[in-house]
Amino acid sequence: MLPVSYYLIVSAIVFSIGVYGVMTLRSGIMIMMCVELMLNAANINLIAFASHFNQVNGHVFVLFSIALAAAEAAIGFAILMNIFRSNKNVNIDNINILRW
């Protein structure tokens, strides 16, 4: 069995990729996917720890978080759909009528 630190390193990398993506990407879809990456990085952590400590609650946590992530994604896509309808694209860096 791999030591828990391996999982942590992987998750950290995944998380960082997600963060980088959120900060730099233009497309709303891509950003949402990056957020998913981040969430899953956390999930990796949780699973890793849960199995490491032989606890069940970590797994429960992950199940919840996956469900919530799905719900979140659903809402997100709904909003993006709206944006697509009016803007014909999902680039969100030019949505800035609200500022200052």
Binding site: V22, M23, I31, D93, N96, L98, W100
Partner: protein, 677 residues
């Protein structure tokens, strides 16, 4: 009946008259002028009754009631006060009667009579006060009334300006006076209260309390206090250098000038020094300054009187000059003691008569010819005989013409002669003879001023009444309400001094010789105070001059007076030589006199406008707007400007927000790990 208990009416009646006149005067004939006349007449009667009651046993009237805090109100009538009371009520009464005629055509006569009633009341309040604060209060009200009366014709800008000047200038003195009171209170509080306090309520500012405990106060403190008091007197009595308001005060009706310059306001300063004379004598350095300032003013003012062409202005300068005499008379008390008060007060009373008369005569003349300018008058003698005669009599009194011999108690001479002679010879000369500081100088001031006084007085008379009429206007004699007072006053100016000299002086001496003062210092109260301050009052302070031995000295004032008369006669009546050759603006001496020593330039333009307004006021205003308030505005614009800058952070691009979030995380992590490590 104890008339003393009516003493409060002396003030209360004129106050009542003020209120009544103000309220109902408009509906009465003569603007309600009869109300103050009746009131003041009654005040006069009460004063006389009180005088008759207390005169035989040199008594006093004392009443006092708690006012508030540590202060009281009260009435204190002693010989000093009662003579003053009678004079003020009497002269004021005559002037009021005169004003009935003089002001009869003025639409504002109701206001006039109300204000003069209040003015009289305030002056009587000064006289009656039993403590220095009450004195000050009444003193200030006198100032207020003078402001109102000088500015009576307020539509005239010059009148409004003169009123302001009078009030402001006297206010300078008043502040000094107030400071004196404050410092006096401090000394009474720290030095006297521990001694006298405890057993009963002591009013620290009451004259009697002050006089009783003068020895407890350090001399140097007393010197400061009395000098400050004198500062007040300088303002009110028009002494150098605060005399500047007085000539301008002629902007009011002539009756007002008479009231201010003869009976009331200006004498208040002299009365102040007389009233607090024990304090001065306990700090004789101040008295010497009083004498010097007084003497100098007497001379200084008369030089300016020489060149004035406004009839009232000439009289104004003469007033200043005569007040200088009174001050000088008081000042020499440093050596001659309490007699000085008698001399000064005697001159004050006489001066009230003849100066009131002079002003009222001048009023008649102005009334008749419609101008103040002496150069436009002349030859009025034939048309206004009563006025001319009464004015001549009072001019003689002002110039101090008389013969220095006495028949029994009666001195031969006009009242001005009697009292001025007393100040110069028995006062100033005694002071000089006993080796008083600057004695010769003071004596010189007295004599020199007498000469100049005589010159300008008769210059005025000759220019007005003799020679050819220089104006076409038909002059006529005034009605009897106006001439009546003139005659009474002229009579008094002629004989009052001659008749009453020694009883008056003796009576006033008793001011400090009753049981109260004997209890304080059995060896002589005034003497004791002077001794304590290192000044010795001789056993017989007055040097008795003998006409046989000291002819020159004794004749000196008379000679000065006659010489002046002669010079005036020669120049202004006979026109022996033309004054135009020296009396023009090319002559620097003439210019400086005509410009009144440039006081206007110094006081108004330099001190008031350039320094107070130009420097102090504008600097304060500038710093207030730009610095103090500017700071506040700068803070506010800093934030509002900051808001405009800071809001730009909010770019509206969501990725930037995400970046900010991540950066925030990084920064917090940095802070936290820095805290840990």
């Amino acid at each position: 009946m104890d008339f003393g208990s009516l003493a409060f009416l002396i003030v209360a009646l004129p106050v009542l008259a003020f209120v009544l006149t103000l309220a109902f005067g408009n509906r009465l004939p003569n603007g309600g002028g009869h109300i103050p006349i009746v009131a003041i007449a009654m005040s006069f009667i009460i004063s006389v009754l009180i005088f008759l009651q207390i005169y035989p046993n040199h008594g006093t009237v004392e009443q006092s009631a708690h006012w508030f805090s540590v202060l009281n109100v009260g009435i204190f009538i002693d010989p000093l006060a009662i003579v003053m009371l009678m004079m003020v009520t009497f002269v004021s009464l005559l002037i009021h009667i005169y004003a009935l005629g003089y002001m009869s055509h003025d639409p504002g006569q109701t206001r006039y009579f109300a204000e003069t009633a209040l003015f009289t009341a305030a002056m009587l309040g000064v006289v009656l006060a039993d403590n220095i604060l009450q004195f000050f209060i009444a003193w200030e009200l006198v100032g207020l009334c003078s402001y109102l009366l000088i500015g009576f014709w307020f539509r005239k800008p010059s009148a409004a300006a003169a009123a302001k000047k009078a009030f402001l200038t006297t206010r300078v003195g008043d502040v000094l006076f107030l400071a004196g009171i404050v410092i006096l209170y401090f000394n009474m509080y720290t030095h006297v209260l521990p001694v006298v306090g405890g057993h009963e309520t002591v009013y620290l500012l009451q004259f009697k309390t002050i006089f009783e405990n003068l020895t407890l106060i350090p001399t140097d403190q007393l010197t400061i206090i009395t000098l400050l008091f004198f500062g007040g007197a300088v303002g009110k009595s028009g002494q150098f250098p605060l005399h500047v308001w007085l000539p301008d005060a002629m902007e009011g009706p002539t009756t007002v000038s008479a009231l201010i310059h003869a009976a009331t306001m200006v004498t208040a300063g002299v009365y102040l020094v007389a009233r607090t004379f024990p304090m001065f004598i306990a700090a004789p350095e101040s008295l010497i300054i009083v004498a010097l300032v007084g003497g100098f003013t007497a001379l200084f003012a008369s030089t300016m009187g020489l060149v004035m062409n406004d009839i009232k202005r000439v009289l104004a300068f003469s007033t200043i000059s005569q007040l200088g005499y009174m001050m000088m008379g008081l000042g020499v008390g440093a050596i001659i003691g309490a007699e000085a008060v008698g001399f000064a007060m005697f001159h004050l009373i006489n001066h009230a008569f003849f100066k009131a008369c002079l002003f009222l005569c001048a009023g008649s003349v102005i009334h008749a010819v419609g101008t103040n300018d002496l150069r436009e008058m002349g030859g009025l003698f034939g048309k206004m005989k009563i006025t001319a005669t009464t004015m001549l009599i009072s001019s003689l009194a002002l110039a101090g013409i008389g013969i220095p011999v006495s028949i029994g108690a009666i001195k031969l001479g006009t009242s001005g002669f009697v009292s001025k002679d007393a100040i110069i010879l028995e006062g100033a000369y005694s002071y000089f003879a006993h080796g008083g500081v600057y004695g010769s100088l003071i004596f010189f001031f007295g004599v020199a001023a007498a000469l100049l006084t005589s010159i300008y007085t008769f210059r005025l008379w000759f220019m007005a009444f003799t020679g050819k009429p220089r104006q076409e206007r038909h002059a006529h004699e005034a009605p009897s309400t106006m001439t009546g007072p003139l005659i009474i006053l002229a009579t008094l100016a002629l004989v009052f001094g001659a008749l009453t000299f020694s009883p008056f002086i003796h009576y006033l001496e008793t001011t400090y010789e009753n049981e109260f003062f004997e209890e304080i210092d059995p060896n002589g109260y005034i003497h004791g105070l002077a001794e304590r301050a290192g000044y010795h009052i001789p056993e017989h302070p007055i040097v008795h001059l003998d006409l046989a031995h000291d002819t020159l000295i004794m004749m000196l004032p008379v000679i000065a007076g006659l010489l002046g008369l002669a010079i005036s006669w020669a120049i202004y009546h006979k026109r022996m030589f033309s004054v135009a050759s020296i009396g023009n603006m090319r002559n620097p001496l003439f210019r400086i006199l005509a410009k009144r020593y440039y006081q206007h330039e110094i006081f108004i333009e330099l001190i008031s406008l350039k320094f107070t307004y130009g420097v102090l006021a504008l600097t304060s205003e500038f710093s207030d707007r730009k610095i103090v308030d500017g700071t506040i505005d700068a803070i506010s614009s800093f934030f509002i400007g900051g808001a405009e800058v800071l809001k730009k952070i909010q770019t509206g691009v969501v990725q930037n927000y995400a970046t900010a979030t991540v950066l925030g995380v990084a920064l917090i992590a940095l802070v936290l790990s820095w805290g840990v490590i």
